[in-house]
Amino acid sequence: MTPQKRTTTVAAACLVVSMAACVLLLHHIDEIRPQAGVDDTLYINSPKVIQRASLGFNGLMACVYWTRAVQYFGYRHAQNERTYNELAPLLEIATALDPHMIPVYQFGANFLAPAPPNGAGEPARAVDLMQYGIRNNPDNWRLYYDLGFVYYTELRDYKRAGEVFELGSKAPNANPFMKLLAAQMAEHAEDYATARMLWMATYESSTQTDIRQNALEHLRSIKVDEAVTSLQNAVTRFIQQSGRAPASLWELAAAEHLPGIPVDPDGNPYELSFDGQVLVQHPDDFPFITKGTPPGYKRSGLAKFHTKD
């Protein structure tokens, strides 16, 4: 082998091995690096200053801040954190840099408003974010939907939700369900059917995986709440007729002429406590249920988006 060939072989081998080592090392480094990233990002948290510092590359900086917001929320959610103090500033900066970045508003509606640990628990800031988005994108019906969504799900202000849905229904190319939602808010705001409609609309109209999975979890939880309500009503009827609580769900199913013991969306049968309360077998699997949990129940972990989209 000539000296040049030998040099070439050694250099090529060194290059390949070193590159592989670099990739492996970066994986390890990511796990042990202190997560001071977001604190660094928000060292300057004035959108105006950042706009000037970005030297006209506002769009790129908006993408960077948006990516960081998603990474920030995802990381803290995976770490079972219960605070997301930097989420609102990150989203506000991203939209200040690029007011037409619609996915940011959608993300804010879904994860800024809900209470911890499923969101930042800042519905007022979520409303401000949506209103800012609507001012800058008045023809985007989706933003009206997101704002109405926040009023409905977090603030329980059905009147305002209805007004916003109505406004949004007049935007160009608005989805027809906007008018339907506006009408539903007026009379059937607290019905499960309305909630299901809202979450189905969110699921079908969003392209972001996190938002779709969140919507799916809500739909599953609505199904459970409906089933528990229906079963509890059946238990009440049983008590009124027989003067005692049913001994088991089999007895209740027989009395109500049901085909079998009702099961939750995961296929697990519901349970009946000794005092006639209908309970969900694994409440941790349904992070958003409001019924069917045992007295004193506290969720042991975070809402895991275990349904695959």
Partner: protein, 258 residues
């Protein structure tokens, strides 16, 4: 072999000194002294924070600029002045020339950083009046900055081995900027799907990850840096430098110098 590389490295260092590179230390010293005095008068409770951030950032930026502007001319200047032919006519292998140049430039930057570090600690002592245990982590930040310099030197040398000085400067500086956003690049990659995701992820790993070597903010806030991170960053910098130098050797071995 070691002697030949050593001679080339020493000569490169001498050339850098003759180019008055180390005069930048004067500008740095003035900047830091002025900042330290000014900060003491206009800020409350964050004097240490400002001095550490300013000092370490200045060390990093000055060094990067020197590494790029000297590194891009390491090979091309020798070709232009025709001194390369004289060197290679001796029993000096092309790869020894490349490695020697790298060590010469790296040595220049290490010396530069050493004197700048003295300046940073002097400014820190001026504003805080005494050192604390957490100030030792500034040394870790400086060490990581030196690792950054090694990577940039090797990249500048890589580009210099086949490109003109202007293009080499553009490429090296661009990689520095992109590498500073390497974390965001990987974040972008996770938001994509399919083939785009593969390409974006590959690109994210291919660019040097300078963000992992930047612990200036953490150190300024008196956070400790783990030993594991120090070891892994050292290995990463050494391996990445090896990648760039291997590329430079492979290209230079085949380059037609006529």
């Amino acid at each position: 072999m070691k002697a030949r590389i050593g001679y080339i490295a020493a000569n490169t260092f001498r050339e850098a000194v003759r180019d008055r590179v180390l005069y930048n230390l004067i500008a740095f010293a003035l900047l830091l002294s002025g900042a330290a005095i000014l900060v003491g008068q206009i800020s409350i409770d964050i004097e240490r924070l400002v001095v550490v951030n300013l000092g370490l950032t200045a060390v990093s930026l000055f060094g990067i600029v020197i590494a790029i502007f000297i590194g891009i001319g390491l090979v091309s200047k020798e070709i232009e002045k025709r001194t390369l032919y004289t060197v290679l006519s001796r029993p000096v292998r092309r790869w020894e020339f490349i490695i020697g140049k790298f060590f010469g430039l790296a040595g220049t930057l290490v010396v530069n950083t050493f004197f700048m570090a003295i300046g940073v600690f002097a400014a820190l002592l001026y504003v805080t009046h005494k050192f604390s245990v957490s100030d030792a982590f500034i040394l870790v930040a400086l060490y990581f900055i030196v690792l950054e310099f090694l990577i940039i030197c090797s990249l500048a040398l890589l580009f210099s081995s086949f490109s003109s000085p202007l293009l080499s400067a553009v490429f090296a500086f661009s990689l520095f900027v992109i590498g500073s956003f390497a974390d965001d690049l990987r974040g972008f990659a996770t938001l994509t799907h399919g083939l785009t995701r593969w390409i974006a992820t590959a690109a994210a790993y291919l660019v040097p990850n300078f963000s992992t070597l930047n612990v200036i903010s953490a150190v300024a806030h008196q956070q400790s840096i783990g030993a594991q991170l120090i070891v892994q960053n050292t290995l990463y910098a050494l391996f990445y430098t090896a990648v760039a130098l291997s590329g430079a050797v492979l290209i230079f071995e085949r380059r037609n110098l006529k």
